[in-house]
């Protein structure tokens, strides 16, 4: 699927330019502090499913949803705490809040996942 990969790559690149609010994923600075710095956890959405949910997510960490597919999806919390629209090639960030959240796609009800935030 070389062509497809190129399309995805260019879509991602384009979205990187277009979505100025989303800075590139960077490892948190190695500052020694009493409380651990917030981490960034990337969840990839592709071929009609959510990728593996990250483990060890703590309240205050950043979750970045990256849509690598050709279809528009959402990452929507069943309890209403977040509702992110993910256009093809786009990504969106949010701050994690403590709890176990059922996540689904508003367009594709077969897409479900469980996100655990400590």
């Amino acid at each position: 699927m070389r062509c497809t990969m190129m399309v995805f790559a260019s879509l991602l690149a384009m979205s990187g330019w277009a979505v100025a609010a989303t800075p590139p994923t960077k490892a948190p600075a190695a500052v020694k502090a009493a409380t651990p710095a917030p981490q960034v956890h990337v969840i990839v959405v592709d071929t009609m499913q959510y990728g593996p949910m990250p483990t060890g997510v703590r309240a205050g960490d950043i979750i970045e949803w990256v849509n690598r597919g050709i279809l528009e999806h959402t990452a929507t919390a069943r309890d209403g705490r977040f509702d992110l629209d993910l256009k093809p090639g786009a990504s969106a960030r949010m701050k994690a809040t403590a709890g176990t959240v059922e996540v689904y796609c508003k367009f594709h009800p077969t897409m479900v996942a469980t996100l655990v935030v400590k």
């Binding site: 062509c3 071929t47 009609m48 279809l71 528009e72 594709h108």
Partner: protein
């Protein structure tokens, strides 16, 4: 559930493929004994186009928010997958080939469009939703039972498999929609 004529016509159309597949090719057969990738691509593309056309009709006719949102999703998703399918065909040097199954599908869909055009309001919304359930159900069966197992090219097979996941999701969404309109 009440099966629409459309669903039956489509089932028959795919049934033709299935039975042709099942039969050993007679020595002097004029019809092809199996469907090839060019025909499979054409059938999958036709199924997508049919749903886009039905969605466009819904966007013109319906005033129901849930129906309109569903129709927008169908038009968007199937257009995206079909674009991908065309790009793949181009890459593989395959020209989608028209065939009796595609023709039967298109004919049944055109007849259904005429029927739906005559309805309005709640009656239209319900008929559209019921038809979408039946359509996706039938295409799912064709994808998993005939088209995916028959596909020879791995990339085509993989695209059809993603298509199946999408159609299954749409079927569930259509079922929720039909339920909400009762």
């Amino acid at each position: 559930m009440k099966k629409s004529l459309f669903a039956l016509a489509i089932a028959l159309a795919f049934g033709t493929v299935a039975s042709v597949q099942a039969q050993p090719a007679p020595a002097a057969a004029t019809a092809p004994a199996t469907i090839d990738d060019a025909q499979i691509a054409h059938i999958a593309y036709t199924a997508g186009q049919i749903d886009v056309t039905a969605a466009k009709q819904a966007l013109k006719k319906s005033h129901n928010k849930a129906v309109l949102a569903f129709a927008e999703e169908m038009a968007r998703d199937h257009a995206a997958v079909n674009e991908q399918a065309l790009a793949l065909c181009k890459k593989l040097g395959v020209t989608p080939a028209d065939n009796p199954t595609s023709q039967a599908l298109a004919k049944a869909a055109a007849a259904e469009q005429v029927k739906l055009a005559a309805l309005s309001g709640d009656a239209y919304d319900k008929a559209y939703a019921a038809n979408e359930v039946a359509f996706h159900q039938t295409v799912n069966q064709a994808l998993s039972g005939t088209l995916i197992p028959s596909a020879r090219n791995e990339e085509l097979k993989s695209l059809l498999e993603t298509g199946l996941k999408l159609f299954e999701s749409h079927q569930m969404h259509a079922e929720h929609l039909a339920q909400s309109l009762k």
